[in-house]
Subunit: 137 residues, 2 copies
DNA sequence: TGCGCAATTGCGTATCATTCGCATTTAGCC
DNA sequence: GGCTAAATGCGAATGATACGCAATTGCGCA
């Protein structure tokens, strides 16, 4: 039904289920949870078991193809394609919408830390507040 | 055995269990998980049920007395006393040690976001890498 | 100073995301 | 087309956290 034969990350065996997970992520503009992905695949008329989605995501993350993030205290992890563009999200406290934040305040900051004998490998930044639709004011 | 009658947050009914949770946090230099807290209390010869610890922490967080944070993709939440000093942590990928980072790169950054119709209420920042004991180099 | 009642706790069980185990199926090299 | 390692379906396990309810406790009030 759908023709998604195009891009495929190297070094990963191509199966129908992984292909489905990948193309859902590819066509999504925002990070998705494992069950979001599962639902979207089922909506396309295909079947995937949730644990298979988790396994595919785990593999993609290990290969650096997908980025896993955790939003707001606990809850569940969300996944997005690694488009190799450094970014962060502003998360709405009310509707949980995630808005990408373009530039990162960390660049100038990391060298300071390196001086304190901490070898920085990466960072997570998450801003929370109210989006314009939910702004109580 | 221990005399911890001193400080107590206003508007919270004082019970033995809550007192225990509070004083463990008070005397800890680093954030602790709910079960860490439980173990430390038991080590002091007192008994607390884990769910009671969770309930106490939940209350403290709601009252703003305690700060809840989630470290590194999923895992579990850690809690620390709110000492009203804004800070972040550098987390070691290897030994999970958390090192407080003094200054925050976000101050200048938030006004930019506000312009994009996002009303910022707060932020989480977590830097990860290798501490000096675990530095592979 | 003791009573009464609402709030809290002990304790077990439920929930929810995620992981694991294993038998069956599949991808893709020969 | 057949073979084998890898992947999947499926269910059940796990681990953090929440919840329900009866028993207990803190504490305001008489």
């Amino acid at each position: 039904m759908k023709e998604v034969q195009n891009s495929w990350p190297a070094g990963i065996k191509r199966t129908r289920q992984r292909q489905s997970v990948f193309s859902v992520l590819e066509s999504s503009g925002k990070p998705l949870s494992a069950s979001d992905i599962c639902l979207k695949i089922e909506k396309n008329g295909e079947a995937v078991w949730l644990s298979t989605v988790y396994r595919a995501l785990e593999l993609f993350v290990k290969k650096g193809v997908v980025i896993k993030t955790n939003v707001m205290n606990n809850e569940m992890a969300v996944y997005e394609l690694n488009r190799f563009k450094h970014k962060h999200y502003a998360v709405c406290i009310n509707c949980r919408k995630m808005i990408a934040v373009e530039n990162c305040p960390m660049e100038k900051f990391i060298p300071e830390l390196e001086e304190d004998d901490f070898h920085v490998m990466g960072h997570n930044l998450e801003v929370y507040g109210f989006c314009k639709d939910c702004n109580p004011k």
